[in-house]
Amino acid sequence: MHTEHTIETPHQRQNRHKAMEAISVINALKEDFKFPIQSMGYFYDLFETVYCRHEPLHEGKVKIGTMCIQIPSEIIYALDGVPIRLCNGFYTDDEIGSDLLPQKSCPLVKATVGWFASDNFSDKPDITFSPTTCDQKTKAGAIIESFGHTVIDVGFPRTKESEESHHYWRESVKSFAVKLSKFQGKKLTRSNLESAIKKIGYAQSLYHKLTEFRKNKAVPILGVDMFLVTNAFFFDKIDEWIGAVEKLVAELEQRASAGVNVAGKASPRIVYTGSPPIFPNYKIPLIIEQSDAVIVADETCSSNRMFNDMVAVDEWNLYDMIDSVSDKYLKACTCPIFTQNDDRIRRIIQLVRSYSGDGVIYQAFAGCQVYEMEQRSVLAAMEREGIPILYIESDYSPSQHGQLTTRVEAFVESLKNRKRMKK
């Protein structure tokens, strides 16, 4: 009666686990909401290809792993590399990483470490650059290195107000560029950096076009879909990403003129902030949007913070372009690792105003200390401004789903009531 089965290798098992995680999120995005967007199909397929079928995207290319948004992808593209952002949202990898890191670590870092520990990549980075942003990422770099990967630290300052930190970061970026160009055996030139800057600038301008639609009264695109689009930028071929987003913009333009609204009439508009939702950890965004609210804007490093600020060059020469690129990643950053971070609070308030948000949902990963610590000041500021805010702590495990849903739903309903009272 019993047949002999071939048993999966650990990598196959890991892949299957990740595929199962991925597919359920993709399916939820595809199926749980009204008025699906046709051109989102590209992104669903992309994520299925990469995370369910594990097919490599960049065969034959040199892949440059980045641990945070602070590693300038402009320079990587200019030097013919493909940046792969290694922030990971898989519970599967989080579990692997849990064995290697303290219990109370950030799940994102655990997942990234777990990913490297298992050494199971469809597009394995040939070299990884790790900016010294938060403590956990910084230390994670060293742990990853111990697995036999090449990890190079790129010094990142913890303040952005002082001249010293500007200077330090500019020098860091320069030495990063030198190291990468040695690694690639290619010179960084005016023309290749300029075209890389413009290409990424164009990609960012497309993102801005997308977000513009979300200011409309009838929101034509869901927040989770936006997260997926921006998430794809972590690893996708940039030209294809641009092509797909161009189509998406065109479709949204139609939808906007037709007044298509993916949310309900009374759905509260949410501004999402906090630890980055990285595919497939769309737990909270999905709960929010499944609870009849709609995310109209976000302040996270997987989406808005990554795209919002564009490189501004004054003199299109190499010396100024490199400095402009470095400044983009330091000055505008609202990461909570900075000692003083009023900018983030102001940004959230501004997002609430310009996207006419009804409330803010602040999600922090359990173990993501800086977000957890900044929570108080943000909550206090929102209270001063009269903006309702919900603070949620969560991790990658699927277990808290019910409890989280209840909390979010209660918040959403209170927002609805507020809206009605105002009327």
């Binding site: 009666m1 089965h5 048993i7 999966e8 098992r13 199962m20 597919i23 369910c52 699927p398």
Partner: protein, 265 residues
Amino acid sequence: MRYFVGIDIGSTAIKISVADENKNLVGHKISASGSMFYKYAQEALGELLRELGIEEKEVVYTVATGYGRKLFKEADENVSEITANAIGAQQAAKSYGEIKTIINIGGQDSKAISLDAEGNVVNFAMNDRCAAGTGKFLDVVAMNLEIGVDELSDYHFKSVGTPLSISSTCAVFAESEIIGLLGNNHSVEDIVSGVHYSIAKRIVKLVKRIGVKENVYFDGGPALNDGLVSAIENELGHKIFVPEYPQITTSYGAAVLACDAFMCE
């Protein structure tokens, strides 16, 4: 001849095994459990003995186990199903070799038992949530998919896509989830394999709680489902041993215990 009877009164079925003096399995019977399980148990025992041509007085020692063991007054002794399962598994797997870990999926619970070198129970864990990851759950799934429980295995191996996991741990919620998936035209095969993997993951988590050791023995009704076996093997990462009659391991263990008890006297 003296015979020993082990009787396992579970939530979904009553399993009876008869062993001889050499602890070999002479015969077994499975009959549905139910509200009148005491009566059913007596009837089933009578029927089995009749089939085997064994007279009642030849049965010298009876051991009851399972949820309903205390209610079976005729038994000479009661043992917990953990002990019975451990002994039965070791007896049944003699040809296979040493057993270190036992996975048991019953109708309404699932267990993992770890044994030491002498075959004593060192540790065990049971699922802490309702019917999730049990035989009952599989029944519900099969019913919703409108296929037979015995067909699940075939569907599992036919699956080509990514298994669609069921996130709800509760059988009742899972039901609606499955209906949703069907509504979105996902293939039954992927759903089935997804269900299997969801159960398998949960089981493996249970096993990991007590510390996985090699030589895993898998019994209980769902062990008949080859798809689930494969899923658990994949999750565990190594082969597991499934006995010929996975459902009766516990009752067989009880019969072996009865033999031992009688011999000691």
